[in-house]
Structure formats: C-alpha cells, structure tokens
Amino acid sequence: MSKFRLSRQTSQRIAFALISLAALVVVAPIFFIVGYIVYEGASAISWEFLTAYPYNGMKSGGLLPAIVGTLWLTAGTAIVAVPIGIGAAIYLSEYAKDNTLTRAIRVAIINLAGIPSVVYGLFGLGLFVIFLNFGTSILAGSLTLGIMTLPVIISTAEEALRAVPQSFRLVSVSLGGTHWQTIRRVVLPQALPGIITGVILGLERAAGETAPILFTVAAFFLPRLPKSVFDQTMALPYHLYVISTQVPGMPVQIQYGTALVLLIFVLSMNVIATLIRNHYRKQRFW
C-alpha cells in the first residue's frame, strides 16, 4: 500500500503559489488605498482648497491652516530631534566604548522606539503642557514629536556613520587629525546622505502622527495661522480625524481631499528620501 505523497516539485509549486498569494495580499491593498484616495479626493483638490481658510464649520473652504500647522510642527520636530539625534548617533558610533553605559543607552533607544504614540501624547501633556506650562502649543507638540522621532534618527544616523570605512579614519588620524577633526572632515560628510535620508523618513512619520498632538497642540477650528510657537494650530492628521468622525454632514469629497493632501505630503517626503539615497549610493566608491 503506497501512501499518497505529493512529489517534491508539486510541494514546491504549491508552497510558492501560496507565498506569492500572500505577498499579493500584502501589496495589493497599498495600490488600492492610494488609488482610491486619489480617485475620490482628486476632485476636491484645487488651488483654493490648498490656500484658503476653512469656514462654515469646516464644511467648505480650504486647508491652509492645517497645512501650515503641519509644516510648523515638522520643522519644530526637526529642530528638536535632529541635533540631539545626530549627536547621539555620533556618540554611539565614534566615541562609545563597549561597556554597560553604552548597552544601557541602546536599551533606552529600543524602548523609546517602542513607546506607543498616545503615551508620548500623555507624556507631552503632563510635562510640557501642564508642568512646564507651555500650554497646548506648537512648542509642546514639537517637543513631544521630537522625542518620539529621536530613536528613528539615532538608528539610521548611526548606521550611516558605521558604514564609512574604518580606513578613512585611520588615514586622517595618521596625518595628525584629532578624533573630532576626523569625524567632522571625513566621516560625517560621507555619512551625510544616509543621515539625511533617515531624518526625512523620521520627519515623515512625525508629520503623519495624530495621537501625540491630540493633547499637546491640536486645535480643530482655528481659522488663522499660528504666529508663534506658543500658539495652538490645526494639523493635517488631526484635521482628517475630526472631519471624518466628529462633524456630521461633512462632505465626503472634502474628507477624501484632506486624506489625499496628507498622503501627498507624507509620500513625497518618502520619494525625496529614496531619491537622495539612490543618488548618493551610486556616487560612492566605497
């Protein structure tokens, strides 16, 4: 009596088919989501939509304050996260020795990366809005988003720094360079494209986040532009959330239009980062 067994070839074909199906299930929705938003939202996009203020309880008008607000927050996040992030990356890559302190720093970074975004919102509320009395403001929001973005920037920047060949450092030192001179003149410039890519990707994430700004900066109906870092502001992600869940009678087209604007904002950063990375990768000879 022979047991029925699939031939090895058949097993492989079945397995590969299932796997390809799985990959399709993963990738196809991306097209669908982006495509559908474009399809439904494109009609809402107009020059007025992008540059006018909203009125009529948000049901008409434009997105200008939300767009500007998101720009402010992204810039603020950059100011907070980039210097500290790159500094920490330089420390880990070029200065840190293999000891307990270094391991503790790495563990801390892993943890910072894993904290839920809404918990960052709570932290921002507790420390910046209330304790330090900044109130709901761009300042509080930027600090919160900045700390949240820190681990991403540190990780990618450190990787970029480590990729620079050790031989460059040796040559620089042998010509009479100090540690910092070597970093500043050789290592950092060579790592810069990778660092910039990481920064852009980190900022892209920060621009799309809602939970951290819920209690720290976001306002719903604020039809004027923020004038200082102590002002509240509208922001695209929060705006999308509110108009899709809390405004009755909101025209669907505007909802999709808002989603589309947010998507374009975020994905174009993605594209820029990828372009930078590919361009400089080709130029490198190491």
Partner: protein, 306 residues
Amino acid sequence: MTNEHEEQQKRSLSWLEFLIERAIQVSGVSAIALVVLIFLFLIKEGAPAFFKVPLSSLFAARWYPIESYFGLLPLVMGSMIVTIGAAVVSLPLGLATAIFIAEIAPDWVRDILKPFVEVLAGIPSVVIGFIGMLVFAPLIRVALDIPTGLTAFTGVLLLAWMALPTVVSVAEDVLDAVPKTYRDAGLALGMTRWQVIWRIVLPAGRSGVLMALMLGVGRAIGETMTVMMVTGNAARIPTGLRDFFMPVRTMTATIAAEMGEVAQGSPHYHVLFAVGLTLFVITFIVNMAAASVVFRQVKRAERMLA
C-alpha cells in the same frame, strides 16, 4: 607655520573640540534620561489613580467613567484581542512576503516590491483608519452580515497589515543572515528550493522570527488612531468567538478619545494616565524580550564564528 601660531591654534581648537565632544556625550546619554523622564511622569500622574480609585473597581468589568466606573478589564482585553490577533495574522503574511522578496521573486519584481513595502510604512495611521472606516468596515458588514463593520475583527486585519513592514523587514534581515553555505549544502543534497527554505533557512532563523513576532506585537499594541476609528469603541469584555465580530475598545483608543474631555486632576484623568503607564510597562517588557533575543543571537553567532 611658526610654533607659536601652532600652539595658539591648538589651544583654541581644543577648547571648541572639548565643548563639542561634551555635547555629543550628553546627546548620547540623553536617551536614558528621556526614558526615565517619561516613566517618572507617567508615574507622577498615574499613581494617584491607585489612591483615588479602589483597586477592586480598577479590576472590575465595567468601564463607564461618567458614572465613575473605572474597570480596566474590558480595555485590557480589547487591546489583547486586537494585538494577538494582529500578530497571529501578520507573522505568516510577513514571513511569506519576506520569503517571496528574498528567495522567490525575480530581481525586477524585488526592485518594485521593496519600495512599496516602505510606502506602506509611511502611510499615516489616521489615513488607514479613515479608509478602514469608510470603505473596509462597510464591506465587512455586508460580507459577514453583521450589524456593524466596526469590530475587533476589522481592527485585527488592519493592524496586521500595518505591522507588516516591521515584520517583513526583520524577517528579511533574518533570512539574509542565514549563511549561503547552508543553502548551498541543501541544494547540493538534492533538495528543492522550497525544501531548503522550509527545512534549513527558516529553522536557522528561528530566533529572528521570534523577534519579528515580538516587534510586530509591540507595534500593534501601541497603535491608536486606526483602532480608534475602526474597532467601534465599545468597552465590553469579549466572551466568545462571536464577540470577535463585535466592537471592542483598546487601551490606546480610550486614552485618545477621553483625554480631551477630562478635568485635570480628576480621578478619570489619573486613571487614563495609569492606563498609559500600563502600556509603557507592557511595551517595555516586550521590547526588552525582543532585545535580549537579539543579544543572545549575537552571542551565539560569535561563538559559532570563534
């Protein structure tokens, strides 16, 4: 250059360098300071909850803050269902995609696929929640003939999908780390490519796959906006399989939805912080576990190569 000039240059340079290197050191240590700071603040605002609200009611089954019911159980269970479900779904899918990208797909497909997975990572969660709410949930409602499409099930599917970039990238690294010699040995023994993957590569990358799972869990547990928009936000304890297709509420959604309306210093306020503290601790544990897997793996690799 005269010696004197050199000396003067050196003195001012080393001054500046000293400051810069100090700043770099401070930046490095700041990560630790921040984690501690966050933890302290969560405790500061969350601990009062345990004094103002009797413990027994915190572990009760009813979450209705307006009438001072602060039972955390439905929230915790909501988070757990959605998270575990998402992890269970995303692991095989992510693994399969990683295998597809790394071992099966021809180069041109790979070059298109990888950026697309990255695009997925870039889509804001509020956008995914938005589409989930407007398009996906109604589809599910119709397809499964249930009263509403805003359910735990919907949340699981969307969350699993959002966790995919993390799982795929870790799985990819794991598959890459398996030495080519292993694969070559299998092929030399006459195994098909699939057999090599199934019997050699995957088992070799076991701990990495575990880490991918844990990171996926970490990602899913912390997700806020998507679950807030598609899981229906009903704080009930799920009691059976049927409840999988009913609305639930996660810890994250609770915080996000209610924090805005809460009076500072009220018991509700403190309880929400306590929920946040719980989330912090859970993700801390999960991340430490994932990190220790990594460290152990590194040590084993060092032993093998030594």
